[in-house]
Amino acid sequence: MSGGTPGKVGLVFVSHSSQIAAGLVELARQMAPTAALEPAGGTDDGRIGTSFDLVSAAIAAADSGSGVVVLCDLGSAILTTETALDFLDDELRARVRLVDAPLVEGGVAASVAAEAGDALDAVVAAAESARGDRGEGGGGSAEPAAADADLPSSAGAGASGYSRTVTLVNADGLHARPAAELAKLAATFAHRVTVNGADAKSLLGIMSLGLTKGAEVEIATDDVAGSDEVDALAELAASGFGEH
């Protein structure tokens, strides 16, 4: 039963399609080069469906002892996974979590958390944080920051909110890892904060903005009570995320 990456939570992606599961590993791998990411897609003989044996094997392969988070696509993938969990020995089952979250967004968010060495509960929370993201902030054509165009690189207050505009200084802009750091910080906030209109808690929403070095980024909240949170994100972005 020993597999996975020592000290890191492992992930299993269960899909009816082997290509979806393998593709998600490929996608998440960009942000999680060392975490154990195991695909369990399709049936044993490569058809569309899910496989008890493949899911069971993937869980074993992902488990380093730090726990395993499993994400599924359609209903019967969940049934197959639940059945596989029933057949695990008690010790392993106690550290395997089946999470109800969007497969792609939840899988990527969980992979980033697992890569960072987060504990099982935190990786589960990262996956669950993707639940409400769809339809919000996913578009790159988020509202332009025109309303605050007269407030360059400075703090400003809208009618009832608060915003700051900063310039990205790190070489790769808001690519995967900085976006993950930003989303992770935003996940601790009590107020809704947006990055160029996208929900700051949405990792994929931020990434899909495609912001590169030199881009102007407006970090905003509709609630002045969230001003400190906007400042915290602005400072993180202005610091270059530790990159240069």
């Binding site: 399709g42 049936t43 044993d44 058809r47 569309i48 469906g49 899910t50 496989s51 008890f52 044996d53 359609l74 209903g75 019967s76 049934l79 197959t80 639940e82 059945t83 029933d86």
Partner: protein, 215 residues
Amino acid sequence: MGLDITWAVDWVRRSADQMAENRVELIRLDREIGDGDHGENMDRGFQAVGAKLDDLPAGSTPGDVLKLVATTLISTVGGAAGPLYGTAYLKASGAVGGATSLDGAAVAGLLAAARDGIVSRGKAELGDKTMVDAWTPAVEAAAAAASAGADAAEVFAAAATAAEAGAVATEPLVARKGRASYLGERSAGHRDPGAESSALLLRAGADAAADGAGA
């Protein structure tokens, strides 16, 4: 007359025959409101079980056969039917334990455990247009027959008849679980393939019991 290992093996063989014979029909039903693989999956699963029957060790019980069906279906049926039927047969196996012969009450208990397994796995309720709509009437009919003193074969026959009626009764329902639920109102007017396969499997068990009892 109790139902023994000979009956259990015969039930599996008849089930495999039923799934092969109705493969195309189950595919057709599933194509109307699902993904169209139910007949293929069930046929593959039961052919795989059938191939393993010869390897059953001497002294096996009906419960051993049910467990073999469970583990094989779980491993070989790629759709939701694998875990659902697998859990059903597993719980049924647990309910009969190591008994070598099943009376009417034991059959009623076997069926109730199987139904409870499907419900706990799939979270479906009566009226959701799923296999539960075949199983729950079957369990109720079996319990009524058993408490009226019917023998094992009669209990199984009552269950099969109720399951067949339950499967037909899924036709006007709007699906609330499974792939068909994505269709919403459009799922009405079609029989649920899982309820249909459930009725076929229970009829196979009833026929095996009737022939065994008459022998």
